[in-house]
Symmetry: C2
């Protein structure tokens, strides 16, 4: 079986959410699995000199319009959360913790957390809420809650983010097919052709 | 006949070039014409705090990879010019001058200038070269050359760029369908559906 797609995302990214909703089916059409890599975009923004899209003049107004339109286009349910953006260390650490315990459950966990935020307006940046939501995806609530404050998982997330930036990740979603980088759900058409043809 | 698509572009933008190559056929499939609006991205970047993509850490390296790959994906010939980015006042003023004389020839003129830069490595930022290239698209060479230095066309370009920013244009390509904004050639899939369905 060919290598899994490496899918990088930030839980505060609406395009990352849309990508998470679509990537497994896309990968499966080409016999691929997905490896899930939580990202902290704020750290990458220090390198690129960027900031959250919605706060940028002109681009912010466009983004607020483009996000719901893109969700409709991709057939993904979305309600912009009342608190946006949020710090995403809590859900990111839970994913790393779950990935070590049972990587096969990561996809369901990521989508459950994303939907809690982008559909049900739950502040998954809050550790208690993040752990509670993770439990609805079958994770051990207390274990997930403890992982958020555990220095070992804090360090694991730091290393995960550093490794992503070292690979060139600066946005969300951002994925690699056998090392080939694709940024944005708007590159999924290229991803599909790349997988079908083995490059182009 | 429904209103023309409003197509905004900067001559130094490779994605704008790809968009210019595709937009007329896309528009024609839905009974639409195209109005051509040259843009100076540098002016918009002062508002958004951005800079040329290729100069941004991480994003620059990705862009250098994504541009030729996107050109292959869209079936558009492209050789990255040796001088990039360039100031694009000269070709932009020629387009405004041509648009007033005969708007129907703007599409051919824009594509000829873009191809000179992104296929044949000609520095269309140079007024003499811009006028010479415009002549190969049927424009009056001396008239085009004179327009570049004419205060009236300098002022016209200033107003064109200000009007675009006032409408929310901050990137290239950037287009409007009956007021609905779409940024990037990677929104052409949404543009196609919007035209087919009258929105979504």
């Amino acid at each position: 079986m060919p290598a899994p797609l490496q899918f990088h995302f930030d839980f505060s990214s609406p395009y990352g959410y849309m990508g998470a909703e679509k990537i497994e089916a896309l990968a499966a059409r080409h016999g691929r699995a997905v490896d899930w890599h939580p990202m902290l975009l704020g750290v990458a923004f220090k390198t690129t000199g960027s900031q959250p899209l919605t706060t940028i003049p002109l681009k912010g107004d466009y983004t607020k319009h483009d996000v719901p339109r893109s969700a409709r286009f991709h057939g993904v349910a979305l309600n912009m959360p009342s608190k946006f953006p949020i710090a995403t260390q809590a859900p990111a650490r839970i994913v790393l913790w779950q990935r070590e315990r049972d990587a096969a459950r990561c996809g369901a966990l990521v989508k459950t957390l994303y939907r809690a935020y982008f559909v049900d307006n739950r502040d998954i940046g809050d550790p208690d809420i993040a752990a509670e939501v993770a439990a609805t995806a079958g994770a051990d609530r207390d274990g997930a809650r403890a992982a958020i404050d555990d220095p070992a998982w804090k360090d694991a997330l730091r290393r995960e983010v550093e490794a992503a930036i070292a690979k060139g990740v600066f946005g969300s979603p951002f994925l690699f097919i056998d090392g080939e980088p694709f940024w944005g759900i708007d590159r999924f058409d290229q991803v599909e052709r790349w997988l079908a043809q083995g490059g182009f």
